[in-house]
Protein backbone atom coordinates (compact mmCIF):
# COMPACT_ATOMS: atom_id res chain seq x y z
CA UNK A 1 0.00 0.00 0.00
CA UNK A 2 2.88 2.37 0.78
CA UNK A 3 4.42 1.76 -2.64
CA UNK A 4 1.07 2.67 -4.24
CA UNK A 5 1.02 5.89 -2.18
CA UNK A 6 4.58 6.63 -3.27
CA UNK A 7 3.73 6.09 -6.93
CA UNK A 8 0.63 8.27 -6.57
CA UNK A 9 2.71 11.07 -5.01
CA UNK A 10 5.19 10.90 -7.90
CA UNK A 11 2.35 10.67 -10.41
CA UNK A 12 0.72 13.78 -8.96
CA UNK A 13 4.00 15.71 -9.31
CA UNK A 14 4.19 14.74 -12.95
CA UNK A 15 0.53 15.28 -13.75
CA UNK A 16 0.60 18.77 -12.23
CA UNK A 17 3.63 19.61 -14.39
CA UNK A 18 1.66 18.28 -17.37
CA UNK A 19 -1.39 20.35 -16.43
CA UNK A 20 0.73 23.51 -16.16
CA UNK A 21 2.36 22.71 -19.49
CA UNK A 22 -1.04 22.39 -21.15
CA UNK A 23 -2.71 25.37 -19.44
CA UNK A 24 0.13 27.87 -19.02
CA UNK A 25 2.93 26.74 -21.33
CA UNK A 26 6.44 25.32 -20.87
CA UNK A 27 7.81 28.33 -18.99
CA UNK A 28 5.48 27.98 -15.96
CA UNK A 29 5.80 24.22 -15.98
CA UNK A 30 9.60 24.64 -15.92
CA UNK A 31 9.36 27.17 -13.07
CA UNK A 32 7.23 24.73 -11.03
CA UNK A 33 9.52 21.74 -11.53
CA UNK A 34 12.66 23.88 -11.04
CA UNK A 35 11.34 25.15 -7.69
CA UNK A 36 10.25 21.68 -6.56
CA UNK A 37 13.70 20.34 -7.47
CA UNK A 38 15.51 23.04 -5.49
CA UNK A 39 13.21 22.43 -2.51
CA UNK A 40 13.86 18.68 -2.73
CA UNK A 41 17.62 19.26 -2.77
CA UNK A 42 17.31 21.42 0.35
CA UNK A 43 15.10 18.82 2.03
CA UNK A 44 17.70 16.17 1.18
CA UNK A 45 20.37 18.22 2.92
CA UNK A 46 18.11 18.88 5.93
CA UNK A 47 17.07 15.24 6.32
CA UNK A 48 20.70 14.07 5.98
CA UNK A 49 22.33 16.49 8.41
CA UNK A 50 19.75 17.22 11.08
CA UNK A 51 18.94 14.82 13.87
CA UNK A 52 15.21 14.15 14.11
CA UNK A 53 13.62 16.18 16.86
CA UNK A 54 10.00 17.19 17.37
CA UNK A 55 9.96 20.53 15.64
CA UNK A 56 7.22 21.27 13.12
CA UNK A 57 9.75 21.36 10.27
CA UNK A 58 11.13 17.94 11.25
CA UNK A 59 7.63 16.47 11.29
CA UNK A 60 6.84 17.94 7.87
CA UNK A 61 10.14 16.75 6.39
CA UNK A 62 9.78 13.22 7.69
CA UNK A 63 6.15 13.02 6.63
CA UNK A 64 7.23 13.97 3.09
CA UNK A 65 10.03 11.42 3.30
CA UNK A 66 7.55 8.68 4.18
CA UNK A 67 5.27 9.76 1.35
CA UNK A 68 7.87 10.06 -1.41
CA UNK A 69 10.51 7.47 -0.67
CA UNK A 70 11.05 3.79 -0.08
CA UNK A 71 12.53 3.04 3.37
CA UNK A 72 15.73 1.60 1.87
CA UNK A 73 16.39 4.63 -0.37
CA UNK A 74 18.41 7.69 0.49
CA UNK A 75 16.56 10.82 1.49
CA UNK A 76 14.35 12.15 -1.32
CA UNK A 77 16.58 10.45 -3.89
CA UNK A 78 13.74 9.02 -5.99
CA UNK A 79 11.71 12.23 -6.04
CA UNK A 80 14.80 14.28 -6.95
CA UNK A 81 15.71 12.12 -9.96
CA UNK A 82 12.04 12.04 -10.94
CA UNK A 83 11.84 15.85 -11.02
CA UNK A 84 15.08 16.01 -12.98
CA UNK A 85 13.46 13.59 -15.43
CA UNK A 86 10.41 15.86 -15.66
CA UNK A 87 12.44 19.05 -16.16
CA UNK A 88 14.50 17.73 -19.06
CA UNK A 89 11.76 17.29 -21.68
CA UNK A 90 9.94 20.45 -20.57
CA UNK A 91 13.02 22.58 -21.26
CA UNK A 92 14.41 20.78 -24.29
CA UNK A 93 11.45 19.51 -26.34
CA UNK A 94 8.51 21.21 -27.98
CA UNK A 95 5.42 21.45 -25.69
CA UNK A 96 3.68 18.63 -27.55
CA UNK A 97 6.62 16.24 -27.29
CA UNK A 98 7.32 17.35 -23.71
CA UNK A 99 3.72 16.51 -22.75
CA UNK A 100 4.07 13.06 -24.30
CA UNK A 101 7.41 12.48 -22.58
CA UNK A 102 6.03 13.52 -19.18
CA UNK A 103 3.05 11.25 -19.62
CA UNK A 104 5.32 8.35 -20.56
CA UNK A 105 7.48 8.98 -17.51
CA UNK A 106 4.69 9.61 -15.01
CA UNK A 107 2.01 7.15 -16.07
CA UNK A 108 4.22 4.47 -17.63
CA UNK A 109 6.56 4.20 -14.66
CA UNK A 110 3.67 4.12 -12.18
CA UNK A 111 1.90 1.39 -14.17
CA UNK A 112 5.08 -0.69 -14.43
CA UNK A 113 5.68 -0.51 -10.68
CA UNK A 114 2.12 -1.22 -9.62
CA UNK A 115 1.62 -4.14 -12.04
CA UNK A 116 5.14 -5.52 -11.73
CA UNK A 117 4.94 -5.82 -7.94
CA UNK A 118 2.27 -8.51 -8.24
CA UNK A 119 3.91 -10.48 -11.08
CA UNK A 120 6.40 -13.30 -11.09
CA UNK A 121 7.45 -13.43 -14.77
CA UNK A 122 10.96 -12.00 -14.28
CA UNK A 123 12.89 -10.58 -17.21
CA UNK A 124 15.96 -12.60 -18.25
CA UNK A 125 18.23 -9.52 -18.35
CA UNK A 126 16.99 -8.00 -15.09
CA UNK A 127 15.52 -10.23 -12.39
CA UNK A 128 14.24 -7.19 -10.47
CA UNK A 129 11.74 -6.36 -13.22
CA UNK A 130 8.91 -8.35 -14.77
CA UNK A 131 7.50 -8.81 -18.25
CA UNK A 132 4.08 -7.72 -16.95
CA UNK A 133 5.58 -4.48 -15.67
CA UNK A 134 7.29 -3.85 -19.01
CA UNK A 135 4.08 -4.45 -20.94
CA UNK A 136 2.08 -2.29 -18.51
CA UNK A 137 4.59 0.53 -19.02
CA UNK A 138 4.28 0.28 -22.80
CA UNK A 139 0.48 -0.05 -22.91
CA UNK A 140 -0.24 2.82 -20.52
CA UNK A 141 2.40 5.17 -21.95
CA UNK A 142 1.17 4.47 -25.49
CA UNK A 143 -1.79 6.70 -24.75
CA UNK A 144 0.68 9.54 -25.34
CA UNK A 145 -0.09 8.77 -29.03
CA UNK A 146 -3.09 11.06 -28.56
CA UNK A 147 -0.69 13.97 -28.06
CA UNK A 148 2.33 13.19 -30.22
CA UNK A 149 1.23 10.59 -32.76
CA UNK A 150 3.26 7.57 -33.87
CA UNK A 151 6.49 9.02 -32.48
CA UNK A 152 4.98 8.51 -29.03
CA UNK A 153 4.42 4.79 -29.70
CA UNK A 154 8.10 4.41 -30.62
CA UNK A 155 9.14 6.45 -27.59
CA UNK A 156 6.89 4.34 -25.32
CA UNK A 157 8.45 1.11 -26.58
CA UNK A 158 12.02 2.33 -26.17
CA UNK A 159 11.32 3.89 -22.78
CA UNK A 160 9.68 0.66 -21.59
CA UNK A 161 12.85 -1.25 -22.51
CA UNK A 162 15.09 1.37 -20.89
CA UNK A 163 12.99 1.32 -17.70
CA UNK A 164 13.26 -2.48 -17.52
CA UNK A 165 17.06 -2.48 -17.86
CA UNK A 166 19.45 -2.48 -14.93
CA UNK A 167 21.49 0.63 -15.72
CA UNK A 168 22.71 1.58 -12.22
CA UNK A 169 21.18 5.03 -12.71
CA UNK A 170 17.71 6.04 -11.52
CA UNK A 171 15.25 4.98 -14.23
CA UNK A 172 13.30 8.25 -13.90
CA UNK A 173 16.25 9.99 -15.55
CA UNK A 174 17.15 7.27 -18.05
CA UNK A 175 13.54 7.03 -19.28
CA UNK A 176 13.41 10.81 -19.65
CA UNK A 177 16.72 10.92 -21.55
CA UNK A 178 15.50 8.10 -23.81
CA UNK A 179 12.26 9.97 -24.52
CA UNK A 180 14.13 13.20 -25.31
CA UNK A 181 16.50 11.37 -27.68
CA UNK A 182 13.66 9.55 -29.49
CA UNK A 183 11.53 12.66 -29.90
CA UNK A 184 14.56 14.69 -31.02
CA UNK A 185 15.60 12.13 -33.65
CA UNK A 186 12.20 11.15 -35.09
Amino acid sequence: MREADRQLAHLNLGLFALLLLAMAGPFWSAVYVFLVLIILLLLTYYATHHAKKSTLLDNVVYALLLLFERPQDRHFEGATWYCAGLLLPITVLSPQHAAAAIFILAAGDAAATLVGRHSKNRLPYNKRKTLSGLLAFFLVSSFSYLVAGYQAIAASAICALVESANLRVDDNLTVSVAAVIVFSLL
Binding site: P26, F27, A30, V31, V33, F34, L37, I38, L41, L42, T44, Y45, T48, H49, R74, T80, W81, A84, L87, L88, I90, T91, V92, L167, R168, V169, D170, L173, T174, V177, S184
Partner: protein, 163 residues
Amino acid sequence: MDPLTSFFSGMDFPALTAAFSLISNEYIALLILAAIFAATAFLYREWDAAGFLALVVAFSLMISVGAKGLLAQPRPCEYLPSKIPCPEDSGLPSGHAIVAFSFAIALRHRKSFPIYLAIALLVAASRLYLGVHTFTQIAASLALSFVALAAAVLVYGRFYERG
Protein backbone atom coordinates in the same frame (compact mmCIF):
# COMPACT_ATOMS: atom_id res chain seq x y z
CA MET B 1 10.62 36.95 -23.40
CA ASP B 2 9.45 35.22 -20.21
CA PRO B 3 8.83 37.34 -17.08
CA LEU B 4 11.79 35.95 -15.08
CA THR B 5 14.32 36.61 -17.84
CA SER B 6 12.84 40.08 -18.37
CA PHE B 7 13.03 40.81 -14.63
CA PHE B 8 16.68 39.83 -14.22
CA SER B 9 17.94 41.25 -17.51
CA GLY B 10 16.03 44.49 -16.86
CA MET B 11 18.05 45.19 -13.70
CA ASP B 12 21.13 47.37 -14.03
CA PHE B 13 23.69 47.71 -11.23
CA PRO B 14 27.23 48.61 -12.38
CA ALA B 15 28.92 46.67 -9.55
CA LEU B 16 26.89 43.53 -10.35
CA THR B 17 27.59 43.94 -14.06
CA ALA B 18 31.33 44.16 -13.40
CA ALA B 19 31.33 41.14 -11.07
CA PHE B 20 29.15 38.97 -13.32
CA SER B 21 31.17 40.00 -16.40
CA LEU B 22 34.30 38.76 -14.63
CA ILE B 23 32.85 35.27 -14.00
CA SER B 24 31.52 35.24 -17.54
CA ASN B 25 35.08 34.25 -18.48
CA GLU B 26 34.96 30.44 -18.17
CA TYR B 27 38.55 30.08 -16.97
CA ILE B 28 38.15 32.64 -14.21
CA ALA B 29 34.85 31.03 -13.17
CA LEU B 30 36.44 27.57 -12.93
CA LEU B 31 39.41 28.97 -10.99
CA ILE B 32 37.09 30.67 -8.51
CA LEU B 33 35.07 27.46 -8.13
CA ALA B 34 38.25 25.45 -7.56
CA ALA B 35 39.42 27.97 -4.93
CA ILE B 36 36.08 27.80 -3.12
CA PHE B 37 36.23 24.01 -3.20
CA ALA B 38 39.71 24.07 -1.68
CA ALA B 39 38.41 26.27 1.14
CA THR B 40 35.30 24.18 1.87
CA ALA B 41 37.21 20.90 1.51
CA PHE B 42 39.62 22.18 4.18
CA LEU B 43 36.76 23.34 6.43
CA TYR B 44 34.56 20.25 6.10
CA ARG B 45 37.26 17.65 5.27
CA GLU B 46 35.74 16.84 1.89
CA TRP B 47 38.98 16.32 -0.07
CA ASP B 48 37.83 12.83 -1.06
CA ALA B 49 35.24 14.47 -3.32
CA ALA B 50 37.87 16.10 -5.56
CA GLY B 51 38.29 13.28 -8.07
CA PHE B 52 34.57 12.68 -8.48
CA LEU B 53 33.90 16.41 -8.83
CA ALA B 54 36.54 16.71 -11.56
CA LEU B 55 34.74 13.92 -13.42
CA VAL B 56 31.36 15.60 -12.92
CA VAL B 57 32.72 18.90 -14.28
CA ALA B 58 34.26 17.10 -17.26
CA PHE B 59 30.97 15.38 -18.10
CA SER B 60 28.97 18.57 -17.65
CA LEU B 61 31.29 20.40 -20.06
CA MET B 62 30.98 17.57 -22.60
CA ILE B 63 27.20 17.54 -22.31
CA SER B 64 27.11 21.33 -22.61
CA VAL B 65 29.17 21.34 -25.82
CA GLY B 66 27.21 18.43 -27.29
CA ALA B 67 23.78 19.82 -26.43
CA LYS B 68 24.67 23.31 -27.70
CA GLY B 69 25.63 21.80 -31.05
CA LEU B 70 22.60 19.50 -31.32
CA LEU B 71 19.87 21.80 -30.06
CA ALA B 72 21.27 25.09 -31.49
CA GLN B 73 18.85 27.26 -29.56
CA PRO B 74 19.50 31.01 -29.95
CA ARG B 75 20.50 33.18 -27.03
CA PRO B 76 18.20 36.08 -26.05
CA CYS B 77 21.09 38.50 -26.78
CA GLU B 78 20.86 37.54 -30.46
CA TYR B 79 17.70 39.62 -30.71
CA LEU B 80 17.76 41.79 -27.59
CA PRO B 81 20.50 43.95 -26.01
CA SER B 82 22.74 42.35 -23.37
CA LYS B 83 25.22 43.73 -20.84
CA ILE B 84 28.18 41.86 -22.37
CA PRO B 85 29.01 40.93 -25.98
CA CYS B 86 26.75 38.10 -27.05
CA PRO B 87 28.69 34.80 -27.03
CA GLU B 88 28.79 33.06 -30.39
CA ASP B 89 27.74 29.58 -29.28
CA SER B 90 24.09 28.62 -28.81
CA GLY B 91 22.08 29.21 -25.66
CA LEU B 92 20.91 25.79 -24.47
CA PRO B 93 22.30 24.85 -22.05
CA SER B 94 24.22 27.49 -20.10
CA GLY B 95 27.75 26.17 -19.72
CA HIS B 96 28.30 28.19 -16.55
CA ALA B 97 25.05 27.03 -14.97
CA ILE B 98 25.45 23.35 -15.85
CA VAL B 99 28.92 23.23 -14.26
CA ALA B 100 27.77 25.11 -11.16
CA PHE B 101 24.63 22.97 -10.74
CA SER B 102 26.58 19.74 -11.35
CA PHE B 103 29.03 20.72 -8.63
CA ALA B 104 26.24 21.47 -6.16
CA ILE B 105 24.21 18.33 -6.92
CA ALA B 106 27.26 16.11 -6.64
CA LEU B 107 27.74 17.47 -3.11
CA ARG B 108 24.06 17.36 -2.09
CA HIS B 109 24.72 14.88 0.73
CA ARG B 110 27.73 16.82 2.03
CA LYS B 111 27.89 19.60 4.61
CA SER B 112 29.11 22.15 2.04
CA PHE B 113 26.04 21.68 -0.17
CA PRO B 114 24.22 24.93 0.81
CA ILE B 115 27.29 26.97 -0.21
CA TYR B 116 27.42 25.37 -3.65
CA LEU B 117 23.67 25.60 -4.15
CA ALA B 118 23.86 29.33 -3.39
CA ILE B 119 26.79 29.65 -5.84
CA ALA B 120 24.89 27.75 -8.53
CA LEU B 121 21.78 29.90 -8.12
CA LEU B 122 23.94 33.05 -8.17
CA VAL B 123 25.67 31.90 -11.37
CA ALA B 124 22.27 31.11 -12.90
CA ALA B 125 20.97 34.54 -11.92
CA SER B 126 24.09 36.18 -13.36
CA ARG B 127 23.45 34.63 -16.78
CA LEU B 128 19.89 35.95 -16.72
CA TYR B 129 21.08 39.35 -15.49
CA LEU B 130 23.66 39.65 -18.28
CA GLY B 131 20.96 38.78 -20.82
CA VAL B 132 22.83 35.83 -22.37
CA HIS B 133 20.37 33.09 -21.36
CA THR B 134 16.65 32.65 -20.76
CA PHE B 135 15.19 31.01 -17.66
CA THR B 136 14.23 27.90 -19.67
CA GLN B 137 17.84 27.52 -20.80
CA ILE B 138 18.99 27.80 -17.17
CA ALA B 139 16.38 25.23 -16.10
CA ALA B 140 17.60 22.91 -18.87
CA SER B 141 21.10 23.30 -17.44
CA LEU B 142 19.83 22.06 -14.06
CA ALA B 143 18.19 19.05 -15.71
CA LEU B 144 21.30 18.26 -17.78
CA SER B 145 23.51 18.57 -14.71
CA PHE B 146 21.74 15.47 -13.37
CA VAL B 147 22.64 13.70 -16.63
CA ALA B 148 26.27 14.70 -16.07
CA LEU B 149 26.08 13.44 -12.50
CA ALA B 150 24.57 10.14 -13.65
CA ALA B 151 27.37 9.70 -16.21
CA ALA B 152 29.98 10.40 -13.54
CA VAL B 153 28.28 7.95 -11.15
CA LEU B 154 28.48 5.20 -13.77
CA VAL B 155 32.21 5.78 -14.16
CA TYR B 156 33.00 6.49 -10.50
CA GLY B 157 30.34 4.37 -8.76
CA ARG B 158 32.22 3.85 -5.52
CA PHE B 159 32.08 7.52 -4.55
CA TYR B 160 28.34 7.57 -5.08
CA GLU B 161 27.83 4.62 -2.75
CA ARG B 162 29.88 6.40 -0.09
CA GLY B 163 28.87 10.03 -0.85
